[in-house]
Symmetry: C2
Subunit: 341 residues, 2 copies
């Protein structure tokens, strides 16, 4: 066969090649656009953490497979502070409490001379910290109780609509982690029921959790104050009392999961020692997936673990290493931290 | 016009009539069969209670209507004892407790001489009743705690599979009310989330509620014992402690609804004074539907109200009359009581 190009044939071939190249290019763009549109964890770098999540979900949803889990048993539990949103330099709920004390101060002239309130009003962090656990409890009681549950929900809703993080200047509800929003949504598309199991107050999270996380109030579990039903004339109200009802932290988390959900999760995400028992409880069932978010990104967020006052990760990290739980390295594993404005 | 029948015409007409009659008959049967197949509350007699349920559901599900309620807010709460299943002559859970004491007696030789256990073992009801609240608490603690939550679920599952009601000789799970099973199922087809909010123990109801009522564990709320997370070697367990965690009765019901669900129900069913505050709490929202089952059928079930030791209906009845809550008259309103074998 004569393969030497005839002038006109050469031209033809070139044209054909160009067209083919263009088609291939367009096809490539189209395919990669589709692939990225279809990647449910688009903010996760390819790596062991992302792979573990995708593999696990594929495994438990494969009908007829050895690890198939029926949808009603697909329970996934998520810690909130440091797992779904920012917790540094102070737990958001504590910032809220300090703001509330300042807002309520005109009705409490005695706070001008009374600790720990005086320290709050004077922004005297050193004295505030030295007031210890007892001081913190006084601030929480003053700011969180004495209202009806409806009044409190309104106060939270108003505060969260405007309060901003001191470093990022974003509203707190915009300091949630984009990769985790994707995990929540992805699991739900796969028939999972997603729960928040937080050491924070349940009534502080519920007013905005559905809008921000897609988690309805009945799937938010947290610490709580005692409440009392009473009739104000004909009007029934629930009054928030200055007494702790339940501390949903550490060993309290599996207890709360048992009492509220009555099923063992098959997926659990946490980031601190307060999540260790929830992960242990989840790990006992098979199949199960346990993940810890390790805050390693001082530039884009914060870097902290064993020595941190807030969100300390020490024993749970050791256990994760020993048991092969997935440790998410925020700096390496997350393409973005917060949702794009 | 000559209307005198011609012989052959008369015959023809008769044939036509017969055909018409047959067609009408068939049509009638077909229509009524379809109507009954399509009646979601087939065990309810036509009357104000059935009408109230159907009207309310039509109202809140009519898109664009003035009383439309979006599906996530369609919360319906049901008391259990006396509302969904039989509670006479004794609460089923108390029968379970007595059976457990007898089953555990070989491991507790001291019970032969120790009250109230001696009375239980000797079927001495009079002494048992005279032991009062303190005696009952001892029996509940001995029979319900000291196990892990998993062990307790197994014990309940085994007991409920065989235990039978003394009068009806049916298993207790067959002494549920057919008309109420229909309400539960009907509401769910209309986008409602159905919850049990029981004075009974949550861990006594959960093991069978999904199978019998279609209510999953996470939608069963009840009284509870304190639990403790502990590691037995490598094995994490939740141990049931002999301490009351929460009494989900009377004013406890709206508190539990707030803490577990975090939304106000729009439908609430109860049957006794222990449900009054749940109904008051529900009634505060608009639109809302409150119903009380009045046990009026001594022949097919039991007749009791103001004077009953079990499931006393007195103040809640008065309030229902005053506020126009629906009072279901079991004898008049229910075609059948229990599911057909």
């Amino acid at each position: 066969m004569n393969v030497a190009p005839h002038k006109s044939t050469g031209l033809k071939l070139t044209r054909v090649h160009a067209l083919a190249c263009l088609t291939a290019l367009l096809l490539f763009h189209w395919v990669s656009a589709r692939a990225s549109a279809q990647d449910p964890l688009g903010s996760w770098e390819e790596g062991p953490a992302k792979k573990a999540i995708l593999d696990f979900v594929a495994r438990v949803t494969r009908q007829g497979g050895p690890d198939f889990v029926p949808p009603p048993e697909r329970i996934a539990t998520f810690d909130n502070d440091g797992t779904l949103w920012i917790e540094q330099p102070l737990y958001t709920q504590f910032v809220f409490a300090l703001d509330r004390v300042k807002a309520m101060a005109p009705q409490h002239p005695e706070w001008k001379t009374q600790q720990p309130f005086k320290a709050v009003l004077e922004n005297d962090r050193k004295t505030l910290l030295s007031s210890g656990q007892a001081g913190i409890m006084k601030i929480l009681a003053a700011s969180h109780t004495g209202f009806t549950s409806d009044e409190f929900a309104t106060i939270v809703t108003e505060w969260i609509a405007t309060a901003r993080h001191p470093r990022f200047r974003r509203r707190y509800v915009e300091c949630v982690y984009q990769p985790m929003l994707e995990v929540l949504a992805f699991l739900r598309t796969k028939g999972f029921k997603t729960y928040i199991v937080s050491g924070g107050g349940v009534e502080f999270i519920r007013p905005w959790a559905e809008r921000i996380y897609g988690v309805p109030p009945e799937q938010v579990i947290g610490s709580s104050a005692k409440e009392k039903f009473e009739l104000r004339g004909e009007e029934p109200v629930l009054l928030r009392l200055p007494q702790v009802n339940f501390v949903d932290d550490g060993p309290g988390k599996p207890v709360a999961i048992s009492q509220y959900i009555g099923r063992r999760p098959i997926v659990a995400f946490g980031n601190s020692d307060g999540d260790q028992q929830m992960l242990e409880w989840t790990a006992r069932g098979k199949p199960s997936l346990m993940l810890i978010i390790h805050h390693t990104d001082g530039e884009r967020e914060y870097a902290y673990d064993r020595e941190s006052q807030v969100g300390k990760l020490d024993k749970a990290w050791d256990e994760a290493s020993k048991k092969g739980w997935i440790v998410v390295d925020m700096k390496k594993d997350w393409k973005t931290i917060f949702p794009i404005d």
